[in-house]
């Protein structure tokens, strides 16, 4: 291994500290025995106990999870298809269509989706939120998949076709395994984007549909209790677990290759 200059290490350490220290503080303070949570008082598991008895918070977390799972599944399938099409066919209009939702300000997208759902007389609820999330996540998945395809040797697919594979077989057994890390990364991204989205969710959620971000935001007015830290900690654990699972399936995901 080559030696790297100390300054570089220090800069990296500072960068990571900036990213992770706030998260660590959130986790540590979820064990704080103080409703105010302004200073460290003592260790307690009370907030987790309270959380598991808080029906509203649990329902919100459940909604968030359902929406995020459906969003990441559907947008990964559609986004992968879009990414492949964008790469293969070089259609300019397609790229614009797929990527526009990424560039559009969230608030605009939220309002226009709400107006759209109202026009269609579509009942607002979990389904409308999931559809809205899918709409903006497709673009993100497509970008990741297309980038992965750009780094792939096209002659492999051609070789498969030469050996008699149908286009679907060539895709299923050659292309897809090769772009799998990109697909998984896209799915994780869609999951994360969906689970913490506030603006679009706010507009497209119907009466009685509360997701975790909506629930937490509405609590800001009355001081936020460590229960929010506790639920955040659990979410972080879940996300970490997802990354670990994903890396099991595609070991190259966490390795630089």
């Amino acid at each position: 291994m080559r030696r790297r200059p100390v300054a570089l290490w220090a800069a990296a350490a500072a960068g990571y500290a900036f990213l992770y220290v706030p998260l660590i503080i959130v986790v540590v303070y979820s064990f704080n025995n103080s409703r105010l949570n302004a200073e460290w008082v003592g260790f307690t598991l009370d907030w987790y106990d309270k959380l598991f008895h808080n029906q509203e918070m649990l329902a919100a977390a459940g909604n968030s999870l359902i929406i995020a799972l459906v969003t990441s599944l559907v947008s990964t399938v559609l986004g992968t298809m879009a990414g492949v099409a964008m790469y293969r066919h070089k259609m300019r209009l397609l790229s614009v269509l797929v990527l526009a939702p990424i560039a559009i300000p969230e608030i605009l997208m939220g309002v226009s989706l709400l107006i759209f759902f109202v026009l269609l007389n579509f009942t607002l609820g979990l389904a409308s939120v999931a559809l809205a999330h899918i709409a903006f996540c497709i673009g993100f998945v497509a970008i990741v998949v297309r980038a992965r395809l750009a780094g792939m040797d096209e002659s492999l697919t051609e070789a498969a076709r030469d050996c008699g594979a149908t286009p679907w077989e060539a895709f299923r057994h050659v292309t897809l395994p090769l772009i799998m890390p990109g697909v998984i990364a896209g799915a994780l991204m869609a999951f994360t984007l969906s689970i913490d989205d506030f603006v679009i969710t706010f507009f497209t959620a119907g009466a009685g549909t509360v997701t975790l971000p909506l629930q937490i935001y509405s609590m800001i007015k009355i001081a936020v209790t460590p229960e929010v830290n506790a639920v955040s900690t659990l979410l972080m654990l879940l996300t970490l677990a997802l990354i670990v699972v994903a890396s099991r399936f595609t070991p190259s995901l966490l390795r630089s290759d």
């Binding site: 607002l124 509360v210 609590m219």
Partner: protein, 354 residues
């Protein structure tokens, strides 16, 4: 793929299938006592489904875009006016509301909704001074006047220990009141005076803060705030629970203050107006209404509720103002577009200036 389609389909189907008797309440967070909800659910044999907003503007934006499915909303008076103008509300049927007689007539038939065609008062709060009793007593500062928020001769003793609400309407209202004008004064020259007053006081303030000042007061970092009466009540409860060596106390400015009344209204597309009326009448019952006051220290326009309210809350003049004070309270009216533009420009200058 097939499994996926199935999952989606089940999701779409699952939602309407869950519809039994439900009342959809679009409310502020923590703005109804859990035991009240429970009792209403037993009473009407239905389920109360709550969704929350944290700002009147949020509610207005969402409804203006056409969202529906809500039965009851709890907007502040000026937002009620905007909703009436926007044709968003269903007129109330008074026959199923015998408990409306419990409301103090002073809070009925207001300019926002003449004859209470659309709204009934729910709860209220005052925008007042909140302070750390020990610190402010030590320094010998007055707490019955907006001067302590605006005058440099007082502020220099508590520099960096004061916060004001991050809301142009609330802060201008306080400044206008201090200058002897109405909180709803729309004379631009008076606004200019108020802006100058604010600019002169700003260097002494720690922040424009509308959310975390409760915590800052309780911890002891901030000694004096311009804030909502129920927030100050909450700060004191928190300070007591944390066994702080001080209390957070309300200061009522003798110049007058802003009164915010939140009202129950029924949305025009309410799926269950029958349950909505039942809920309104239920919440107008003194006992049920009192539970909210006991929980968060909000003011209560319900005369029948008084007997159920904890005496220490009932005696608090910032929560239940006396006649003399009540005459000096004003509810904020909406500004016209042109007025809002002028106000926004002044507010930007204030916030950007050093």
């Amino acid at each position: 793929m097939k499994r996926l389609a199935l999952l989606l389909a089940s999701l779409l189907v699952a939602i309407p299938a869950a519809a039994k008797d439900q009342l959809h309440l679009y409310n502020w967070n923590n703005y109804i006592a859990p035991e009240t909800v429970k009792r209403f659910e037993d009473f009407c044999k239905c389920e109360v489904v709550q969704t929350y907003y944290s700002d009147n503007e949020e509610l207005l934006a969402k409804l203006a875009a056409g969202a529906k499915g809500y039965d009851i909303l709890v907007p502040t008076s000026n937002a009620v006016q905007a909703l009436i103008k926007g044709g968003q509300l269903k007129p109330i049927d008074k026959a199923p509301l015998p408990n409306l007689k419990n409301i103090d007539p002073a809070y009925l038939n207001t300019a926002f909704d003449p004859g209470n065609k659309y709204s009934v008062p729910y709860a209220m709060s005052l925008t007042v001074i909140g302070y750390n009793d020990r610190k402010i007593k030590e320094l010998g500062l007055p707490t019955d006047t907006w001067a302590v928020v605006f005058e440099p001769k007082y502020l220099e003793k508590i520099k960096g220990r004061v916060t004001v609400l991050d809301s142009s309407s609330e802060l201008f209202a306080a400044a206008l009141k201090y200058l002897g004008y109405s909180a709803n004064d729309v004379d631009e020259a008076h606004w200019k005076q108020a802006a100058d007053l604010i600019k002169k006081a700003k260097p002494y303030w720690a922040a424009f803060n509308a959310s975390s000042y409760i915590k800052e007061l309780t911890v002891g970092n901030i000694w004096l705030v311009h804030g909502y009466s129920n927030d100050i009540f909450q700060a004191n409860l928190d300070a007591e629970a944390a066994k702080r060596p001080f209390h957070i106390v309300h200061g009522l400015p003798k110049e007058g203050a802003v009164l915010a009344v939140d009202n129950m209204v029924i949305h025009k597309d309410a799926p269950r107006p029958d349950l909505a009326h039942k809920f309104m009448n239920f919440m107008l019952e003194g006992k049920n209404s009192a539970e909210l006051t006991n929980l968060i220290g909000s003011g209560n326009p319900n005369m029948d509720a008084l007997q159920y309210i904890k005496p220490e809350i009932r005696k608090n003049p910032a929560i239940f103002p006396d006649k003399a004070m009540a005459s000096k309270l004003e509810q904020l009216k909406d500004l016209t577009t042109a007025q809002r533009r002028v106000r926004n420009r002044m507010w930007t200058e204030i916030k950007a200036g050093r």
